[in-house]
C-alpha cells in the first residue's frame, strides 16, 4: 500500500474540480497555442493550434486524447467534441494518445493526468469545445487572408472551407500551413447546440476496425528489439517478504536469462513468456511471513458485524435518527455482507520499460500517467520529465490500472533497473497473479435500521458501513478523506436521495493487511445494493408498491424521479408478467448520472436469478454519442450482474482461495439479459457513463428475486446464498 516515493501534490475532489475546471483549461491552452502554433509554422509542418488538435497537409485531423481508451468509447467521445466545433468530417478524424504531461493533459477534475471517476467527457467538455473552435477560427482566418474576403463570409462544412460569394473552396489540409501563422483568437464563440452535426448522433467508434482484425495494439503486443519478458514470483500472503531464494534451477530453464530481486518479489526474465513462466515455476523462495495478515474473510465478516453494532464516525447526521427510530411504529433492520472483488480485466496487467542512462520509455495502458511516470522515475532514479510514457489501448481496467503507487509500472522499472537497462523488459502478470494480487474492492458490512410510522412513512434511517478505506495513506488522502471519512466508502449512502426524516450515516474503517482499490463505480458497488434493497423492504413492510413508495421520497431529486418514471413506463411496471417472472426496480446516482433499472427475473438453475430483461433509463446530461452511452449501460450492468451473481475473493488464513476464471467467475453470454436503454433528453453538460450503469443492477435483481421467491439476499454473491 505504501507509495514508492513522493507524489506530486494531487488535489483530487470530484466536486471541487467542477468549479476549478472552467477557469483552468483555457488560459493554458492559449499560452500553448502561441508557442506551438508559431514553432510549427516556422518548420512548415502540420497545423497544431493547441495541445489537442493537429491538422496535417493530407487532410487528416488528429485529436490528442489525454484519457486512455479501455473500452468506454473515450477516444471516440473526445474526438467527437473537437470535431464538432472544428466542423471536421468524421472520416478524416484520427486519435492518438497524449504523452504524460500534467501541465497540458491533467484531468481538470482530478488535477493529475488520470482517467477515472467517469469524468473523461465531463472534464474535457469545455476544454475540447474550445480547442476545436480555436482551430476552426484559425483555419477560417487563413482562408479569409488567402482569398481576401471577410471572415464572416466563410463557412465550414465537413472539413471543407467555403466562400459562397466567390464559390471558392479548400480543405483543412491545404490551409494548414497558413493557419499555423494566424494569431490564435482571444475569444471564440461555441456552436449553438441546434447546429450540432456530430454530437448526439450515432457515430461509429474509431477503434472498431482495429479491434476486429487483430491489429489493435495493447501493451501485451509491444515487442521491442532484444526485449525480455519478466514474471514476478509474489508473496503467498499479503505483506510477506523474501527471506532467501535459490535461482539455480530457474536459471537452467531454456531461455531464462536473469533472476533478480525487486521490492515486490523475485523477477524471472527470459526470452518470451513461456521461458519466464517455466523459470518462475522452478524458483525456490523462502518467505518471511511474520506480521502478515492471517485473518480470513469469515473472521473479517465477524469482526465487521461486531463493529456495525457500535457507533462509528459520522458521515451525515440530519435530525435525531435514534429518537426517531425509537419512537417509530415499526422498525426494520438488515445486515449486508459484501466480499472482496478483483477487477480481472481481460488484458492481464503489464508494462514495457526501456531504460537508457539518460532517460526511460514506458509503454503501458496507463490510467494514471502522472502517477506511473513518477513511480518509474523513482524506481530508476531519474527525474519524472526524463520518463516518457506511451499510453496504449488497455484491455479493460475497471479501476485496476489506476493505483496510488503506480504498482505495475514501478515493478517493470525496478526490473529494468536491476538488469542495468541492458535490454527492454515486458512485465506480465499472469491471471493468477492478478486474482491473488490484491487491490480488491474492499470487503464491507453494512447495517441499516429504519423506522416507519403508523401510516408507513419513513421517519428515521440509520446506516453504518464497515470496510477498509481505499484512500487512507495514499496520494488522494488529503482530497478524499475528511474528518476520518473516506468519501469513497460512503458515496451513495451519505447522499441518500430519499426524504427519510432523520438520518445518520456512520463509518468504521478498520485496518486490514489486504490491499484495496476502487472498482468500477467504487462506493456505489455496495451502497446502492444496501440502500435500494432496504428501501424495497420498507416498501413491502408499508404495503406499498416499490415505485409508488419511492415517488414522494424523491420529491427533492427531480432527475432521480424522472429516470424512475421513465423506466417504470418503458418496463411496463405494474403490468402482468408470465408466471415465474417478477420485476425489481432500483434507482441510483453516481458520477452525477442518475440511472434507474427494472430487472425482469425468473429462477435459473440452482435457485440463481436468471435475468431475462433489463430496462434502463438514465440522465447523463448531453449524450455525446448515444450508442456509446447505450453500450456503457449494457456493459456496466453486465459487469455488475456478473459480480453480483458469481464473483468473490475469499481469504482463508490470509491466503486468497481463488486463482483464475474457473473459480473467479465472470458473467457469460448465456447469463446476459436483453437490455433496453432510454436516455433522458438533456441540454446540461455531459456527466459520467462508464460506471453509473453498474450500481442499480444488483439491487434491482435482488428486489425481483424477493418478489419471485420471498427471499431477501443480504450477502453477495447470489451464488453463495442461493445455491
Amino acid at each position: 500500500m505504501s507509495a514508492r516515493g513522493p507524489l506530486p501534490s494531487l488535489e483530487l475532489t470530484r466536486r471541487r474540480f467542477l468549479e476549478a475546471s472552467a477557469a483552468a483549461g483555457v488560459g493554458l491552452l492559449v499560452g500553448f497555442n502561441l508557442r506551438v502554433g508559431r514553432a510549427i509554422a516556422e518548420t512548415g509542418g502540420p497545423f497544431a493550434p493547441n495541445a489537442f488538435v493537429r491538422v496535417a497537409p493530407d487532410d487528416t485531423v488528429t485529436i490528442i486524447a489525454k484519457h486512455i481508451e479501455f473500452g468506454q468509447g473515450t477516444h471516440t467521445g473526445l474526438a467527437t467534441i473537437v470535431a464538432e466545433e472544428l466542423d471536421a468530417d468524421w472520416s478524416q478524424v484520427r486519435v492518438e494518445s497524449a504523452p504524460a504531461d500534467v501541465t497540458r493533459y491533467k484531468n481538470l477534475r482530478i488535477g493529475a493526468q488520470v482517467t477515472g471517476g467517469s469524468s473523461s467527457m465531463a472534464n474535457s467538455w469545455d476544454q475540447l469545445r474550445n480547442a476545436g473552435a480555436v482551430a476552426r477560427a484559425m483555419l477560417v482566418a487563413a482562408a479569409a487572408a488567402e482569398w481576401g474576403v471577410p471572415v464572416a463570409q466563410i463557412t465550414v462544412d465537413r472539413g471543407v472551407v467555403l466562400h459562397a460569394g466567390s464559390s471558392r473552396r479548400t480543405t483543412f489540409g491545404q490551409l494548414a500551413a497558413k493557419a499555423a501563422t494566424m494569431p490564435p483568437p482571444a475569444d471564440v464563440k461555441l456552436k449553438d447546440p441546434k447546429a450540432w452535426k456530430l454530437i448526439g448522433r450515432r457515430l461509429p467508434r474509431l477503434d472498431s476496425r482495429a479491434k476486429t482484425d487483430g491489429s489493435a495494439q495493447f501493451t501485451m503486443d509491444v515487442y521491442l528489439p532484444d526485449m525480455l519478458t519478466a514474471l514476478i514470483a509474489r508473496p503467498p500472503r499479503f505483506g510477506a517478504k523474501v527471506k532467501t531464494f535459490d535461482a539455480s534451477a530457474a536459471l537452467r530453464v531454456k531461455g531464462v536469462t536473469d533472476v533478480v530481486k525487486v521490492p515486490t518479489g523475485i523477477a524471472v526474465l527470459g526470452r518470451g513468456f513461456w521461458a519466464a513462466r517455466q523459470g518462475r515455476a522452478a524458483l525456490k523462495i523462502d518467505w518471511d511471513e511474520s506480521g502478515t495478515e492471517r485473518r480470513g474473510s469469515e473472521e473479517l465478516f465477524a469482526a465487521y458485524r461486531t463493529l456495525a453494532e457500535q457507533p462509528g464516525t459520522r458521515a451525515r447526521r440530519d435530525g435525531d435518527p435514534d429518537a426517531a427510530i425509537a419512537g417509530a411504529a415499526r422498525v426494520l433492520e438488515a445486515v449486508y455482507e459484501f466480499p472482496y472483488l478483483a477487477h480481472a480485466p481481460m488484458e492481464p496487467l503489464d508494462c514495457v520499460v526501456r531504460l537508457a542512462p539518460d532517460g526511460c520509455e514506458v509503454w503501458a495502458g496507463s490510467q494514471a500517467q502522472t502517477i506511473d511516470q513518477q513511480a518509474v522515475a523513482t524506481a530508476v532514479g531519474l527525474p519524472p520529465e526524463k520518463v516518457q510514457v506511451h499510453t496504449l489501448l488497455a484491455g479493460g481496467s475497471f479501476g485496476r490500472r489506476a493505483t496510488p503507487n503506480g504498482d505495475v509500472a514501478g515493478e517493470a522499472a525496478s526490473i529494468a533497473k536491476a538488469i542495468g537497462g541492458r535490454q527492454p523488459v515486458k512485465l506480465v502478470w499472469t491471471r493468477e497473479d492478478d486474482i491473488r494480487g490484491g487491490r480488491y474492492r474492499p470487503l464491507y458490512v453494512h447495517r441499516i435500521r429504519a423506522g416507519l410510522d403508523a401510516s408507513g412513512r419513513i421517519v428515521g434511517w440509520e446506516h453504518r458501513i464497515v470496510g477498509q478505506s481505499i484512500n487512507r495513506g495514499g496520494p488522494f488522502e488529503s482530497a478524499l478523506v475528511k474528518n476520518g471519512i473516506d468519501a469513497t466508502s460512503v458515496e451513495g449512502a451519505a447522499n441518500l436521495p430519499y426524504s427519510v426524516g432523520s438520518i445518520g450515516v456512520e463509518l468504521h474503517s478498520p485496518d486490514v493487511g489486504v490491499t484495496v482499490l476502487w472498482w468500477r463505480s467504487v462506493g456505489s458497488t455496495h451502497t446502492a445494493y444496501s440502500t435500494e434493497t432496504f428501501i424495497d423492504e420498507l416498501a413491502h413492510a408499508a404495503g406499498r408498491d416499490p415505485v409508488e413508495f419511492r415517488r414522494p421520497l424523491l420529491k427533492d431529486h427531480p432527475r432521480h424521479l424522472a429516470v424512475l418514471e421513465l423506466v417504470a413506463e418503458k418496463a411496463g411496471w405494474g403490468k402482468p408478467l408470465p408466471s415465474g417472472r417478477a420485476r425489481g426496480v432500483a434507482v441510483h446516482e453516481s458520477f452525477n448520472t442518475a440511472v434507474a433499472q427494472v430487472a425482469e427475473v425468473s429462477l435459473g438453475p440452482g435457485g440463481l436469478p436468471k435475468v431475462e430483461r433489463v430496462v434502463c433509463a438514465l440522465d447523463c446530461g448531453i449524450a455525446i454519442n448515444p450508442d456509446v452511452v447505450r453500450a456503457q449501460m449494457e456493459g456496466g450492468l453486465g459487469f455488475g450482474l456478473g459480480g453480483a451473481l458469481w464473483s468473490e475473493i475469499t481469504l482463508v488464513d490470509g491466503r486468497v482461495q481463488q486463482s483464475n476464471f474457473h473459480d473467479y467467475r465472470s458473467l457469460r453470454i448465456e447469463e446476459m439479459p436483453a437490455v433496453e436503454v432510454h436516455i433522458v433528453p438533456s441540454a446540461a453538460p455531459p456527466t459520467g457513463v462508464g460506471e453509473p450503469g453498474l450500481p442499480p443492477i444488483a439491487p434491482a435483481v435482488a428486489n425481483a428475486l424477493f418478489h419471485l421467491t420471498g427471499r431477501r439476499v443480504r450477502r453477495l454473491p447470489f451464488a453463495r446464498v442461493t445455491a
Binding site: T212, G272, E347, G396, G638, I669
Partner: protein, 152 residues
C-alpha cells in the same frame, strides 16, 4: 525447432514441442491478435482455428499441431469471416476489444457449422469466451446479423 502451418504459410519456430501454441504465435511469429487472458482455457481470448475448429491456443502444445492448418485472426478470410467482422463493426460490438479476436474466431467457427444458430446455439458456441466489458448483447446481435447476411 517446430514447423507449423499458420495462415497458409509454413513457419519455423524455435521452441520446445510442449510450448503452448499461443506463445509460439505471439512471441515467435509476432501474430499478436491472438490474446493471452488466462492461460488455462477459461476465457477464450486465445481462440484460433485448427483445421477449422475453434481451439484455445493457450493449452495447445505446438508439438500437437505440426501437420494442422492453423488460422489466426490475422489470417482469417472467406465469406463467413467477412460477414462476422462486418457485423461486429456495424453494431460497434467492441469495448476494450481485448477479447474480441477470440470472440470473432469462435463466432466464425459457430456460423461455419450452424448457419442459422438459435439463441441456445449461440450460448453453447460462445459460452467459453469471456468478455469482462460484457458486450454480450451485441455479440449475440452481431452473430444473428452475420447469419442474415450469409442468407442463413
Amino acid at each position: 525447432m517446430v514447423t507449423l502451418r499458420v495462415n497458409g504459410t509454413s513457419r519455423e519456430v524455435d521452441v520446445d514441442p510442449d510450448t503452448p501454441l499461443l506463445w509460439a504465435l505471439r512471441d515467435e511469429l509476432r501474430l499478436t491478435g491472438t490474446k493471452f487472458g488466462c492461460g488455462v482455457a477459461q476465457c477464450g481470448a486465445c481462440t484460433v482455428h485448427i483445421d477449422g475448429q475453434a481451439t484455445r491456443s493457450c493449452v495447445t502444445p505446438v508439438g500437437a499441431v505440426r501437420d494442422r492448418e492453423i488460422v489466426t485472426i490475422e489470417g482469417v478470410s472467406g465469406k463467413v469471416a467477412t460477414a462476422v467482422q462486418d457485423a461486429w463493426r456495424r453494431l460497434d460490438v467492441v469495448q476494450c476489444g481485448y477479447c474480441q479476436s477470440g470472440q470473432i474466431m469462435s463466432a466464425i467457427a459457430l456460423l461455419a457449422e450452424l448457419p442459422r444458430p438459435s439463441d441456445a446455439d449461440i450460448d453453447a458456441g460462445m459460452t467459453g469466451n469471456v468478455c469482462r466489458c460484457a458486450t454480450y448483447v451485441r455479440i449475440r446481435a452481431a452473430i444473428k446479423d452475420a447469419a442474415r447476411t450469409l442468407g442463413g
